[in-house]
């Protein structure tokens, strides 16, 4: 998938997000990207919607449920939430929604920072394979992939979606 297509996807989710915020009367949302791909997407949305509040970033490594199996990613980046999330409307941004475990971990981490008024989820790609009851509020593109296929956002410049076959 080319970078133009990714840019188009980001543009369309930004527009949808704008409509959603208007509909819900949310004037001052907090945008938070999940490392790494989610941060790239969030940066663009943040720019396109002219969001006042600084962009937040979340690294969910410490909240993963598979720590005992795969361990810690060697390059854990600090989470950076330069604002209080109490009673705020949070827009969580990720590149790919797959099993839902990343979002579960991200929400757990968020609640360790405070009690948001609401959390919405924006994802560039939604693919099959959910293992938890988690759904996105806004989806750029739906992909029906089998379990041997893997979709990944590469970046930061240019942003590209890559689908790989995983050989057993």
């Amino acid at each position: 998938m080319s970078m133009n297509e990714v840019d188009d996807l980001i543009q369309s989710v930004s527009q949808e997000l704008k409509d959603l915020l208007e509909m819900r009367n949310i004037s001052n949302p907090l945008l938070i990207g999940i490392h790494t791909g989610g941060v790239w997407v969030a940066e663009k949305i943040h720019q396109q919607l002219n969001i006042e509040q600084e962009l937040g970033t979340l690294d969910i490594s410490f909240y993963r449920d598979d720590f005992t199996r795969i361990g810690m990613h060697p390059q854990v980046r600090p989470s950076n939430l330069p604002f209080s999330i109490d009673d705020q409307h949070i827009i969580l941004v990720d590149d790919v929604l797959h099993t839902g475990r990343t979002i579960r971990a991200a929400m757990n981490e968020l609640f360790d920072y405070g009690r948001p008024a609401s959390i919405s989820l924006v994802t560039l790609v939604e693919r099959s394979g959910r293992e938890l009851p988690i759904a996105a509020s806004i989806v750029g593109k739906q992909l029906d992939l089998n379990e041997n296929q893997h979709v990944k956002l590469t970046g930061p410049e240019p942003l590209e979606l890559v689908i790989q076959e995983i050989s057993e």
């Binding site: 909240y63 199996r69 390059q75 989470s79």
Partner: protein
């Protein structure tokens, strides 16, 4: 074979800086950087080591090291047992190995060990079941590797990188396990110059083999230094008359604002604590703007969280292997 590192190059025990690679040290510092952010959360806890049992096994009294280890373990959501063996089973005649067997039977996952004998943590690591990680919290005069790592973290936070730094380590190097670990870590991380500043009686023989320059004069030792690390005068470990008096020590080696003027203007002053005010340094320096002594304590928690979670990670493989059998 290096007892500390598993076949995949990850640390499973943390016994000394000796034998570790620059990559491992950098990895620890990077991981600690993200744990430092946990203190910004209103709930200062991450669920990484939930369900794990960590035993603080202290054969020698310590407040700061034990409490920061305890807090680090609790912030990782582990369960913590503090065992003070001065006052416990050993006084009833139980051997060390029996004590270890008992703690193993309680399904512990990690021992944090402090002992007055050099090599104690290493001994325990070779005599416990392989799935238990051992972290050395100070053994005799040998090593205090987590203290050295938190010092490296503090230096990196303030100076960004090590390659152009001149670091002066001042004081009772002879009795200091911290100094040995610091010197090895600074060399691995590529500090430009390491100086040891102490009276002749407090410099261990052969220290120049570690790649340091020995100074016996405080002013020449800290001149143009970027980092000045003061060591505690370890009176409790001194046998015989190594020093005329504390007063005289302060006169010659005590750090004052005046003397600090010869160091770089942006030099930082560190001390592993506890400070003997008026012996190693003046209160004015300890509480002054260049002192980062209390930051060292805060950073110690993040660094210990990093080391604990990294050793526990490689321990998981042992358990998987055990399950497969």
């Amino acid at each position: 074979m290096n007892l500390q590192v598993d076949e995949n190059g990850r640390i499973r025990h943390f016994l000394s800086i000796d034998g570790l690679s620059r990559d491992i040290l950098t990895n620890i510092l990077d991981t600690a950087e993200s744990f430092a952010g946990v203190t910004a959360q209103s709930i200062k806890k991450v669920p990484l080591l939930r369900g794990k049992t960590i035993v603080n096994l202290f054969f020698e009294p310590s407040t700061r090291t034990r409490t920061t280890f305890e807090l680090a373990a609790k912030r990782l959501s582990a369960d913590v047992l503090n065992i003070n063996l001065n006052a416990s089973a050993t006084s009833k005649g139980e051997t060390l190995l029996d004590t270890l067997r008992n703690l193993e039977a309680m399904h512990s996952d990690m021992f944090v060990v402090r002992h007055a004998d050099s090599g104690a943590a290493h001994f325990i690591a070779t005599h416990t079941q392989p799935h238990i990680s051992i972290i050395n919290a100070g053994d005799g005069r040998h090593a205090h590797p987590t203290q050295a790592m938190l010092d490296m973290f503090t230096i990196r936070r303030h100076k960004k990188e090590f390659k152009n730094l001149t670091v002066a380590i001042v004081g009772d190097v002879l009795h200091s396990r911290v100094a040995r670990s610091q010197i090895i870590a600074l060399n691995l991380l590529g500090a430009a110059a390491i100086r040891v500043v102490a009276p002749r009686t407090l410099v261990p023989a052969g220290i120049d083999a570690l790649g340091v320059k020995v100074h016996h004069h405080l002013e020449s030792g800290i001149r143009d230094a970027d980092v000045v690390i003061m060591l505690r005068l370890q009176n409790e470990r001194m046998q015989g008359a190594l020093l005329p008096s504390e007063h005289e020590y302060f006169k010659l080696y005590g750090l004052t604002e005046n003397r600090l003027a010869v160091a770089k203007p942006d030099a930082i002053v560190m001390h592993p604590g506890p400070i003997n005010r008026g012996v190693e340094m003046d209160s004015q320096v300890a509480d002054g703007s260049r002192s980062v002594i209390l930051q060292q304590v805060s950073y110690g928690i993040a660094v210990r969280m990093a080391i604990m979670s990294m050793t526990m990670r490689s321990q998981q493989d042992v358990e998987v292997a055990k399950d497969a059998n």
